[in-house]
Assembly symmetry: C2
Homo-oligomer: 338 residues x 2
DNA sequence: TTGAAAGCGTTACCAG
DNA sequence: CTGGTAACGCTTTCAA
């Protein structure tokens, strides 16, 4: 492998000049630049990442900490990851993939050994144990999620509270007065994953504000979990006319169950889902939904990291406005029937 | 951040001694080791990855090239990735995540700039355009898949030919004589993704060997694609009594369609799926299936890379034996009805 | 507009 | 069993 010195020699310039041609950090005459670039091309020179990192204290690598268990929301995780890698490449960075399993130790390992310039973390819990460590790192972090104490940490996510409000207002606007929430699995609540908490809080708040009767239920994975959740909601809230579903995995079994029970969507029961667009449109019934904008969130997280890295100002809390798309899974209840 | 020199000074030894304590590459007296380790702990020393890479020409990083489009098999991709990261960590390596979009250029970028010690590639095509580049890299690669010309390249995968044979033999053994194959999407065949080709080849071969009448059909995503594929199979092969499904996404709509048409599984039609275990067991009917052992394959890929890195012998082609698990979605046809 | 040279923090060889 | 000291390949200040 040729080094910068080989290139310099071939082009008849000093190594520093080659470096400056590469980085553009100082003006180079057109002629010199051409000679250097020719030499680079001819020799097939590629700067050594380690040497660069050592000399410049920049790795051009971002850490992405993803929950790689199988228990949750695989497609959404994947969409985040895709967005992060793509955005990182657009900023000339690569992505080191860590699993959440490694916990605090993993973060500290890659940060302390200077493998990465910044970290992006997903699946943040309300009182995430990694927060203190994150605050101590010399590298900046960007969280996808919003923990309880997020002072001084950059956070990016969908505004799940607002999303819950939007879902409920949509249904209330259609005349629904008894609405059930099918939430994520108890395990997700137990972990106090922040999107679950925030959605629930927004749901209860909007329910109070709008004077709507609601009931809420987490939902175990699998058909039986959905059946149980639905049964409980029906019991707690007789006359239930609409469901908000904040649980991607539950959607399909739910629709199957409703179908099997002869409850038509939307004629007999309305449904609003919170899920990625493609999930909403791949169900037996196209679902009115609030999109989880994984791509936007991932991209924004990377952009925030980049701003942090070059010392630009950032908004520390960026909650994206939810967008509700009507697809006909909600019916209008006539005023006389409300 | 303290450096190795700080540690050396604190422990009253030379930097090389600290290095040797860390690497264990030469004997150190218990006493010295203890002093050094105390100093390391006290100062919170972590070796600088870039400096290490520069001096040792080892990065302890593996590249994982994954197809991050949404068009295929997200959960399986995710399982591979999880397995690779976990196995890599067990060997003290980290994982740099690349997208297949970057193509040959991406591989060359990370390899030439010495960001990684080895590469693991998924979603390999029959005549994968990246192969020539891979052969030229100084870092070894491990493919998850089996391209046409794989001489001298380490390849790891499920033996999809054998899997097709196993599926067909299972059904033939139950007395089925007219069997349809629902394959991956035309796009997958068009790319000549090797698992699709190999499965189809094995299917046709076994069909001939067993003297079974078969028909095969790729399957567009979505309910309509499945409906079309099924209709075509029914037409081409009247009296069809069993289906082999090598298409994870098609499974659910297929079962729905069969149900809607009043064709019971397994009473009226038998089904064998090729998919991850958890997919097979999360369907309305538990499916007899051949597992896609993503975890084993990912782990094996990493282990192969490790062997390659430290110059141990490897088998260049490792095709894992398929395992068929009966779950009752295949019925026995009485000899009189065959 | 360019060059020279001092680091950056390790490793690993050469000595002892 | 331990120390000294060249590399490793690049960036960046200081000078010209």
């Amino acid at each position: 492998m040729p080094t910068i010195n080989d290139v310099a020699r071939a082009a008849g310039v000093s190594p520093s000049t080659v470096s400056y041609v590469l980085s553009g950090r100082r003006p180079i005459s057109a002629e010199t630049r051409a000679r250097v670039q020719a030499a680079i091309a001819e020799l097939g020179f590629h700067p050594h990442a380690g040497a660069r990192a050592l000399a410049s204290s920049k790795t051009n690598v971002l850490a992405l900490v993803a929950p790689l268990r199988v228990d949750v929301n695989v497609p959404v995780i994947m969409q985040f990851a895709t967005a992060v890698v793509t955005a990182a490449r657009a900023h000339n960075h690569d992505v080191l993939l860590l699993t959440k399993d490694e916990g605090t130790a993993g973060l500290e390992r890659v940060a302390h050994s200077t493998m990465v310039d910044a970290l992006i973390l997903m699946d943040i819990e309300r009182d995430d144990v990694r927060l203190p460590a994150i605050r101590r790192l010399k590298q900046p972090s960007v969280l996808i999620g919003l923990p309880a104490d997020h002072a001084g940490i950059a956070c990016v996510d969908l505004d799940f509270e607002a999303a819950a409000g939007a879902a409920l207002r949509h249904l209330a606007g259609h005349g629904h007065r008894r609405i059930g929430l099918i939430g994520p699995s108890p395990a997700v609540y137990r972990r106090q994953t922040t999107y679950a908490d925030r959605f629930l809080a927004g749901f209860l708040q909007a329910s109070a504000d709008l004077g709507i009767r609601t009931a809420t239920h987490p939902c175990e994975p699998g058909v039986e979990g959905v059946r149980a959740a639905l049964a409980d909601l029906d019991t707690e809230l007789p006359g239930l006319s609409a469901l908000v579903v904040h649980n991607e995995e539950a959607l399909r079994p739910l629709l199957d169950l409703l179908h099997a029970a002869g409850r038509r969507v939307p004629e007999d029961i309305s449904v609003v889902a919170i899920c990625p667009r493609d999930v909403a449109t791949s169900m037996p019934v196209d679902l009115t939904s609030i999109d989880i904008p994984a791509h936007e969130v991932g991209t924004l997280a990377v952009e925030t990291a980049m701003r942090l890295l070059d010392g630009r100002r950032v908004e520390f809390t960026r909650l994206l406005e939810p967008g509700l798309v009507e697809r006909g899974s909600c019916r209008e209840i006539a005023p006389s029937h409300r």
